[in-house]
Amino acid sequence: MDAMDKPLELTLEELRDRIKAAGITIPENRLGMVRKLLSDALVPVRALDTRAAKTVEPAVRFRGGRHE
């Protein structure tokens, strides 16, 4: 099951929503390029079963009472 519960492809509509939420401006003639860039990178993430995936811990390690 797709753990992110979204289609693998990033739609233009979703891209516009993200741009609005981020408060940035991307010219209309670059939207296709940005959509492809993000869409390709998102495919493996959206295909990931997040419940089966391992965590990314530990974020910190200690040795001798100090951060390693």
Binding site: L37, P44, A47
Partner: protein, 460 residues
């Protein structure tokens, strides 16, 4: 005479210095004249430092007279222009920093300086180590000495071009998704991306903290080993810098490959590979077998998710550039600006999931490297890209063979393994266990000694 000096190895150069056949000042003058004559067509240098170079060369000459036997003494080098140089302009290949003169020196720059090298100048980089300069940019992009209509690779574009053109004997590069190995592959030279944490990033402009590596580029594996030596070792100024002990890279180079196990990663790396590259790579494996290595096929299934690395890169790059993108968007190159802005569109959850994918790739790669000593793959799926294609804004980020080893942080060496029918260099990459640069260099050197690709020169 110019070619003989320009393309000599570091060891040859040192021998000629010590026999008084050549002097660092003489070599520096020859190279400065060569750059003046040939670089207008290549744009490898963004800043030349002739006065500094001659001062360094005179100092090296004095040290040589005193019997100093350091291998890099009097060796001409240049830095990728994301390495801060105290008192020397450091542009990052960007209009934003076009006139910036840092008051700090990168740790790598300082270490090469302390090793006695001669600094000829700064080498153009893709803008902020990410964006090829489009026509009209403040800085023209470097061109490939093998064919100026093709890119030299990036982002260490000037480093690759300068080495192939015989302008320097060593150069620094940086590698976030292949920026040392790509130019090495496209320019027919050698590049070493060391283990993450082996070589300091202090004083080097950031692209993506968790993926950025610094390292040397040269024309032979031995030159790369000699140049790597002073770069290796802990630096308190880089939080990722490792305390792991440093091996002597040059000493073990000649031990050969008999008994070593080389794993050819058959999934991911051969998708869409040009037949000429595949043929050259398989011939290289035949050569390594003949030299006594055991070559076998291996699989790293999680590499299918490699492209998620771009989410990490974009999010981290945006975090670094957000303020300048907001305040000076007009000073970022066309296309690069929108690529960096794309990092603002990566959600926190997606960044974390990409890091989880990364952990899985690291785990599987480490497992495979318990069965073999070194991994081998083609460095790039295709030879150098024509500018006409690379300058299409829609060209984007083609699938690449290099990010897997930025994800894992593995030491990885790119070296020539042939030429295409159109005369462009072809390359293979060798990746090893963490901090085992020595074995990767040893395999590369054995292959190089059995072949002659590294002796070919572009017609200029």
């Amino acid at each position: 005479m110019s070619d003989a000096i320009a393309y000599s190895t570091i060891r040859e150069l040192g021998a000629r210095y010590r026999s008084r056949e050549l002097s660092p000042v003489e070599v520096t003058r020859v190279l400065l004249a060569r750059i003046e004559k040939l670089d207008p067509a290549l744009h490898a240098f963004v800043t030349l430092t002739p006065e500094r170079a001659l001062a360094d060369a005179r100092a090296a000459e004095e040290q040589l007279r005193r019997g100093d036997d350091r291998p890099l003494l009097g060796v001409p080098v240049a830095h990728k222009d994301i390495y801060c140089t105290r008192g020397i302009r450091t542009t990052g290949g960007s209009a934003l920093l076009a006139d910036w003169v840092p008051d700090v020196e990168s740790t790598c720059g300082r270490r090469w300086q302390e090793a006695g090298t001669v600094l000829l100048g700064k080498l153009i980089t893709h803008e902020f180590a990410m964006g090829l300069q489009f026509p009209g940019h403040r800085f023209p992009p470097a061109r490939n000495p093998w064919n100026v209509d093709h890119i030299p690779g990036g982002s260490s574009s000037g480093s690759g071009a300068a080495l192939a053109a015989g302008f320097v004997h060593g150069a620094t590069g940086s590698d976030t998704g292949g920026s040392i190995r790509g130019p090495a592959a496209f320019c027919g030279i050698v590049g070493l991306k060391p283990t993450y944490g082996r070589s300091s990033r202090a004083g080097v402009l950031t692209l993506s903290w968790t993926l950025d590596h610094t390292g040397p580029m040269a024309r032979t594996v031995e030159d790369c080993a000699l140049l790597m030596q002073p770069l290796a070792g802990h630096d308190p100024l880089d939080p990722a810098s490792s305390l792991a002990p440093v091996e002597d890279y040059a000493t073990g180079l000649g031990r050969g490959v008999r008994g070593l196990r080389i794993g050819v990663v058959r999934n991911y790396f051969f998708e869409g590979v040009d037949p000429e590259i595949e043929r050259a790579f398989e011939e290289a494996m035949t050569t390594l077998r003949r030299l006594g290595a055991e070559v076998r096929d291996v699989q790293i299934p999680s590499l299918a998710a490699t492209h998620a690395f771009l989410l990490i890169l974009l999010a981290e790059a945006y975090a670094y550039h957000a303020r300048d993108l907001r305040e000076h968007p007009e000073l970022y190159g066309d296309v690069l600006r929108e690529r960096f802005l794309a990092g603002a569109l990566v959600t926190g959850a997606e960044y974390v999931q990409a890091q989880r994918i990364r952990s899985e790739i690291c785990r599987e790669t480490a497992d495979v490297l318990t069965d073999v000593d070194v991994l081998a793959t083609p460095t790039t799926p295709k030879p150098a890209t024509p500018f006409a294609l690379a300058h299409d804004p829609e060209f984007g980020f083609p699938r690449s063979n290099m990010p897997p080893f930025n994800i894992t942080g593995s030491p990885t060496l790119a070296l020539p393994c042939g030429f295409s029918s159109s005369g462009l260099p072809l390359s293979m990459q060798l990746a090893g266990r963490p901090f085992d640069e020595a074995t990767v260099l040893r395999v590369g050197h054995a292959y190089e000694q059995a072949t002659s690709w590294h002796t070919r020169r572009p017609a200029m």
